[in-house]
Amino acid sequence: MMQKILFVLVISFCPFHHLYSQTIDETFQFAAEQFKLGNYTNSILAYERAIYFEEKTSSDTYMKLAESYFKKGNIERAIRFYDNASFMENDINKRNDIIFKKCLAYLSIKEFNQAIISLTAINDFNLPEAKFKKQYYKSIAYFLKEDFEQFDKIFSEYIIDMNLTSNVGYSTIEIYNQKAEKVKPNLAMWMSVFVPGTGQILYGNWKDGLNSLALSASLVGLYFNYIVQFSLVEGYVVVLPWFQRYHKGGYMKAKETALEKQREYRANAYGEILQLHPALF
């Protein structure tokens, strides 16, 4: 008798009962667990199921589904569910958090304008933290969009509001940005137009500078040699196009070298900007 009772008890605790009778709450638990484990397809399926059967889906669920899609790399769908989540959310702080995530998602797929637009939905009335973060995200979006004028304006406001004017990182950013602005791609180009190679050398690319100088010089030599040996017309037709081609290649490269230098400074500045995230202070 005792044995039979035990058997029934064991059966009732058997896992297949759990499997066959999962409620929405359990589905959420399962989804959360799968999300933690990094099995995003599983967590997506579970959240989609819960949402499908729930009568009224909470903002939290949409948020988690969006996070799963974000992690899985389906950013468009993630943004869609961040939207749903932010519409459903009544708590201002939580809602702001969701919008920041949406903005981050837009930034990650390089939709900078959309990122800036999404930030307008942030409610920062009497909420200094949200205000700082909004300023910070906005300035990052403008920086990545290469609108440095707007970036300077918003970022300096952020720095003043955060009381970071004497921060070392901030002055480094300023220095890098100033250096980037001082780079003159057109100057490099025109230098190389007149003396091949000099524009490249100006921005430290000695290999290409000397290479271009030597190549252009030898083509000029060949050109005159041709004129002397044959005729002006033949020199013009046979050699000059080649000179033109590599001369142009040289001065375009000079411009490109300068632009690369500029991008390098900007990339360094961007690295420093990331270290001034409002949460770090």
Partner: protein
């Protein structure tokens, strides 16, 4: 490299000083932000001779000579060019491959034919590579 390292260390230190609660959240945010490359071209440049692996596989002296010529052309002449070849793979890569696979005579003929087709006059005959916007025309040898 060292700059990146120090930046990483400073970043980690700063983050760890910060409270444990939203630690991972900030870290994740920063990871996403730093994954957005401000500039894709700052990725370290690859030397010409490392760009074309097959150059180093030569089965005889003739192939060795052609590979050498190819490398010289790529590093000192092609690198200075304004307009580049209208195909992918470029004519020089195509010709070198052809010489290696079809032998000197056929390979060079194939290369010369490729050069005279490299005139950008009939883009409708080829498919376009979405990344480089160049016309796709690989070497096809049975």
């Amino acid at each position: 490299m060292s700059l990146k390292m120090t930046r990483c260390i400073v970043l980690t230190l700063l983050i760890s000083v910060f409270g444990f609660q939203s630690w991972s959240q900030v870290e994740e945010e920063l990871a996403v932000l730093s994954a957005i490359k401000y500039d894709d071209s700052t990725v370290e440049k690859v030397k010409v001779r490392n760009q074309y692996e097959h150059v180093h596989v030569n089965t005889n002296e003739i192939q060795f000579v052609f590979s050498g010529l190819f490398l010289f052309y790529k590093s000192f002449i092609s690198s200075q060019d304004a307009q580049s070849c209208s195909f992918i793979p470029s004519c020089s890569v195509y010709a070198l491959e052809a010489v290696k696979k079809q032998g000197v005579l056929k390979g060079m003929m194939n290369g010369f034919d490729r050069l005279s087709r490299c005139n950008s006059l009939s883009p409708e005959k080829y498919e376009v590579d979405p990344e480089t916007r160049l016309l796709i025309d690989p070497l096809q040898v049975q």
